[in-house]
Amino acid sequence: MNQIEITLNGQPRSISGVLPHTTLLGWLRSQGLTGSKEGCAEGECGACAVLLSKPTAEGGTRLESVNGCLLLLAGLHGQEVTTVEGIGVEGLGSPLALHPVQSELAVRGGSQCGYCTPGFVVSMAAEYYRPERQASQHSNGFELDAIHGNLCRCTGYRPIRDAAQALGQPAEGDRIAERLTRPAPLPRPTELITSSGHFHRPETLEDALHLLDQLPDARILAGGTDWGVDVNLKHARAAVTVAVEHLPELGRLEWTPEHLELGAGLSLSELERRLAGAVPLLHTWFPQFASRLIRNRATLGGNLGTASPIGDSPPVLLALGASVLLISSQGEREVPLDGYFTGYRQTVRRPGELIRAVRIPLPLAPVTGFYKIAKRPLDDISSVAVAFALSLEGGVVSGVKIGLGGVAATPIRAHETEAALVGQPWTQGTVQRAARLLKREGTPQDDHRASGAYRAAMLEQTLLKFYFEQTGAEVTA
């Protein structure tokens, strides 16, 4: 095949000349749809945001705001995309026919230079139509989290916030709301063969594993929030890309008496929705992971697959005692996450293996905490991330797991500190001693995000903070 078919602003488009690394943003702009902007090309600023139609359980469509700069066009075969040009009341991008999101932003001074504005419009539109959004007496139900992944350099955000909070509900006969009552098209199997590389979206897991068997060096693609950055900023190119996030086996969320299994291809937003707070540590963690724009695409499989030492999921998953299910044409194996990372961006995953799911043993430790140390509380990369999961029996620590990120070449467990806590009374003295040990875990380095000394200090301080938050008792370093 040499055509990628998508629905764009309601119209079917059949696109030729697509390469495996052609981004949606690059293609849109080449077509004269220049409302979507490139501000950073790495999913940090949201100026490129577009709406991707996703199916709901009820047979309708949910609009998700995603970074167009990170989406590969080939990965969208079969899907539906709406850009800022498709949001206006007439769907023509006409200034005379503003959508409520557009008019609220405009009249409140929500745009100055205007360059980030289309991205804000798109992210706000996704939230405007979010099926779960419900107005109450005090609020229109708009979660500002929806626009935390959009940067504005001019306004200072206040008028944008006010615009978001002034929005009502879609009117009777709203064109987009009406569209959302019908199903979203699904990604279709894709086999794009070009001189610049191949792009596959296999139909079944079996096909995928067969492909990976034959092409063990293939780039496995889920949400693409990391690969897209490499394509744009490092100009990385893959001979073969295999997209897997659509596979049903990677999209399950299952509770058994012994464990909770999270599909590696589920987006973090979907996980967050479906877990609905059932795992408190994850519930605390989700909002601190990048931004909604990223979480709409990012997956656990991707975060563990790239194996970055500052990935945000490993510390919480280590604290939860998770394991990774790796599947290949030879079968499936379960690897404890504690033994999964072998070096800087190295893991035990073998060529041809795919991360199918993450398994969290039950019951969950009752006392948990997650601390992310970064320059900016929202949408930043960790300098240090620490997760605690603790069990107490009669005031004594009966079990504890501590996951650390940002202090070694891989995410690590703080085994020494854990050992010093287990069997000890959960007291200031114990915590003080353990915090001193925790400060010495790992090999924190200096870099542009933080000094090694600060990272080490933060290891100590987070345990003190965790204790203080749990007990209200003061404890000094």
Binding site: G32, S94, G109, T117, P118, I373, I381
Partner: protein, 791 residues
């Protein structure tokens, strides 16, 4: 003829209207420079070869392999430049390098040459194929290295008043200190972009995202060896500028224009974010060493200081930036004896440039930091020390300018302290802090006094071109550029008011050098003052001619003809109303000139930059802000709980626009002072001099989370600024410095972790890590005191 500041009873100025392009912004229909190339055929894309050395000699440059890359059309090197091979106005910024020179790499990432190709990918691969060899040279990367090695550039002016030695000798308290603050990346969402082609008349037509189209035109012309009349530069709008597009765009426009000249095809040059961050200049970092003397009442008697700015590899605007620092070193405070010398350091980094405030913020930050550090040692609250030192009416600045409306400093201060409930909140915060061992709140108030006008007197001029067509519709054009600040909106309001027509009758055409020539940069907050003066002048000329025509028909003296909202009538007789369009038609039939060129030059300015004396500013913009923060003692992380601002914009031309400038400037300033952290590789390793934060993921600007949770902004009332268009004041830069109160609130919170009365030093930017180390030191001092008490 009314005076410049007087407003008619009815008119569009002063109305809170939205940005003229708001509807285009929100629909994605607003076009920026890089949106235009798509529609061109035969478009070529440009990509630079960037050198990977902080300082090196280019020993070999072989471009032949590049030309073998499919799609590559041409490589531009120094040998291709027909005119002057320079991207700036100081003659120290080679546009292109070549084998036969110039061949000295002055910073890591400097563009050596540019590849033109059919696609961006092909151009990039073409650049990768070039063979370039370098001989590494010793480099200077930090400000301290430059000071130690006396690596200086440009003049070293000294600001002087009185006798510092005598002042210090008289002083009851003398303190010395050092302070260093970081730079700031503009991070306009739209990176630098230019699009050049030879138009149907054979002239070079360049679309550029530039704050200074006339200078872009001059540099394109000198690079191509053409007279200025052969080059037209247009700027539709910018996706943010903040000073970063005052000087920096010229070279990129010149490269695109050179490419278009040599290939005969349109050339698009757009820096991606990494290129923009690694190639273009930023706010200057500063280092200050000071000695200050106070009397027993806490009055400043003398200030002696050596200031060093990190200018990067070339001069660019570093000298005028330093001049503005010296002119703001005293902020709102009277200091009788002053000697402050400013030195621009040359380092192997990007050439630092204009950034909102233009050196003023650094000067003001130095004195505010100084006051907060000295206050505990004088036994005073910081806000009390500030109040005691405010300028009083009749006093002059160290550079000899009377402080016009100095009483407004105290008016603003007291009004804000009252409206923000400062004293009561201070008490609440003390109670809160006593009850919370790990969370401390801090409250602080700081003032702003900012001089308005370009220090360089000649720049304080502007032009406009106003056309009234036979149907009564109006087209205006002026020399200012639109970067989001709302200048075009204000100019539409000025024109509608001056002609007495509704806003809908007026349209504004894009900024072009063939419409209004010899324009100044849209900078120094001066856009509305200067261009507004010129637009009003042009409209006034046309209106005067129309009044003469109307007077004949209405049977009154021309002075008694009134123009309001599209109606023209005799004073006191609105029933005599003539439709504006009808009047225009009559005027045309009577052979009346219906267009005019307007001009404005700010009166009363003079400046001696050698002596650092004169009256460089038309007036001062005043303001003050109160910030409240809460600091987490475990991590140093903080929240900005509440901000109250009272700011003086004169009589606002456009209140919604001005509110946006104040809020946006404040948050941008808070970013500079608390979050934005440019890091360079200062090791002796292979990447020495490389920018370690070359992306949005490593350089963090304020996001939603940095917005003040409560944000109250008020404009000072009854603030008419005489001598400025419709009584308004400039607003672009001054609010940025209001953010100094955030830093001071953080310091106040840190103080609460330590023993009372302890002076706190805080690094700038005050990142969570910097705040943590400051509070860690405060806590240790507290422990040490407790231990000492036990002994």
């Amino acid at each position: 003829m009314t005076s410049l500041h007087e407003r008619p009873a009815v008119g569009a100025v002063g109305e809170a209207i939205v940005h003229e392009s708001a509807a285009l912004h929100v629909t994605g229909a607003a076009l920026y420079t890089d949106d235009l190339g798509v529609k061109m055929t035969g478009l070529l894309h440009a990509w630079p070869l960037q050198a990977g050395h902080a300082h090196a000699r280019l020993t070999r440059l072989d471009t032949a392999p590049s030309l073998k890359v499919p799609g590559v059309v041409r490589v531009l090197t120094a040998a291709d430049v027909p005119g002057l091979n320079d991207a700036g106005v100081k003659g120290d910024e080679p546009l292109l390098m070549g084998e036969d020179g110039p061949g000295e790499v002055m910073f890591h990432g400097q563009a050596v040459c540019w590849v033109l190709a059919e696609s961006e990918d092909a151009a990039r691969l073409g650049a990768e194929a070039i063979v370039a060899e370098y001989e590494a040279l010793p480099s200077i990367v930090t400000l301290r290295e430059a000071i130690d090695q006396e690596s200086f550039q440009g003049s070293r002016p000294t600001l002087r008043r009185g006798d510092v030695a005598a002042g210090l000798a008289q002083a009851a308290h003398v303190f010395s200190g050092e302070f260093e603050c970081g730079g700031q990346e503009h991070f306009y969402l739209e990176t630098n972009a230019a699009l050049a082609h030879i138009d149907e008349s054979g002239q070079m037509f360049v679309q550029s995202s530039t704050q200074h189209p006339s200078e872009t035109q001059e540099i394109v012309a000198h690079a191509l060896g053409l007279p200025s009349h052969a080059v037209t530069v247009q700027c539709l709008r910018m996706g943010g500028g903040f000073g970063g597009k005052e000087m920096q765009p010229h070279g990129y426009a010149a490269i695109a224009a050179l490419g278009a000249t040599l290939t005969g095809r349109p050339v698009r040059l757009r820096l991606n974010r990494t290129q923009d961050l690694t190639l273009t200049g930023k706010r200057h970092p500063y280092l200050a060493r000071w000695t200050a003397g106070f009397d027993d009442a806490g009055k400043l008697l003398a200030l002696e200081a050596e200031l060093y700015s990190d200018g990067g590899w070339s001069l660019d605007l570093s000298e005028p930036v330093m001049a503005r620092t010296l002119c703001h070193i005293e902020n709102a405070y009277f200091i009788p004896h002053v000697r402050v010398r400013g030195t621009v350091c040359r380092t192997n980094k990007t050439s630092q440039t204009a950034f909102r405030g233009f050196g003023g913020p650094q000067g003001m930050l130095i004195v505010e930091d100084l006051l907060s550090r000295c206050a505990p040692r004088l036994g005073l609250e910081a806000e009390e020390l500030r109040r005691r030192n405010f300028y009083a009416p009749g006093q002059t600045t160290p550079y000899g300018q009377p402080v016009k409306d100095a009483d407004r400093i105290l008016t603003v201060w007291d009004t804000l302290l009252s409206s923000s409930d400062y004293a009561a909140r201070q008490a609440e915060i003390s109670t809160f802090n006593a009850a919370h061992p790990y969370r401390k709140r801090g409250l602080a108030v700081t003032p702003v006094k900012f001089g308005i006008s370009f220090n360089f007197t000649s720049y304080n001029q502007a032009g406009a071109l106003v056309h009234v067509y036979k149907d009564g519709s109006v087209l205006i054009n002026h020399g200012g550029t639109e970067m989001g600040q709302g200048l075009h909106t204000k100019m539409l309001q000025v024109a509608a008011t001056a002609l007495g027509v509704p806003m809908s009758a007026v349209r504004l055409a894009p900024t072009r050098t063939d419409k209004v020539p010899n324009t100044s940069a849209t900078a120094a907050s001066s856009g509305a003052d200067l261009n507004g003066g010129a637009v009003k002048d042009a409209c006034g000329q046309i209106r005067g001619r129309l009044a003469a025509v109307a007077a004949g028909r209405l049977g009154v003296h021309p002075d008694d003809v009134r123009f309001e909202a599209g109606s023209v009538f005799a004073l006191g007789h609105p029933e005599t109303s003539l439709d504006f369009a009808k009047l225009v038609h009559h005027a045309y039939m009577e052979r009346t000139q219906l267009w005019a060129a307007g001009f404005y030059r700010t009166p009363g300015l003079h400046w001696d930059r050698e002596a650092m004396q004169g009256e460089p500013f038309k007036y001062f913009a005043y303001g003050a802000s109160v910030s409240e923060v809460e600091v987490d003692g475990f991590s140093g992380a903080y929240r900005l709980r509440r901000v109250d601002i009272l700011h003086d914009v004169g009589d606002s031309l456009s209140p919604l626009i001005d509110l946006g400038q104040i809020e946006g400037g404040f948050v941008q300033g808070a970013g500079w002072l608390t979050l934005e952290d440019l890091r360079w590789d200062v090791t002796d390793g292979p990447n020495r001099g490389r920018l370690a934060t070359p992306s949005a993921s490593t350089y963090k600007l304020p996001s939603f989370g940095e917005m003040p949770e409560v944000f109250n902004v008020e404009l000072l009332e009854r603030a008419t600024e005489t001598g400025v268009v419709y009584g308004s004041k400039a607003v672009g830069e001054p609010p940025l410095m209001l953010a100094i109160s955030v830093r001071e609130a953080l310091r106040a919170a840190v103080m609460a972790f330590g023993p009372p009365g302890r002076s706190v030093e805080l690094a700038s930017p005050a990142t969570p890590e910097a705040v943590f180390w400051a509070l860690d030191a405060a806590r240790n001092a507290m422990l040490a005191q407790a231990v000492a008490a036990d002994d």
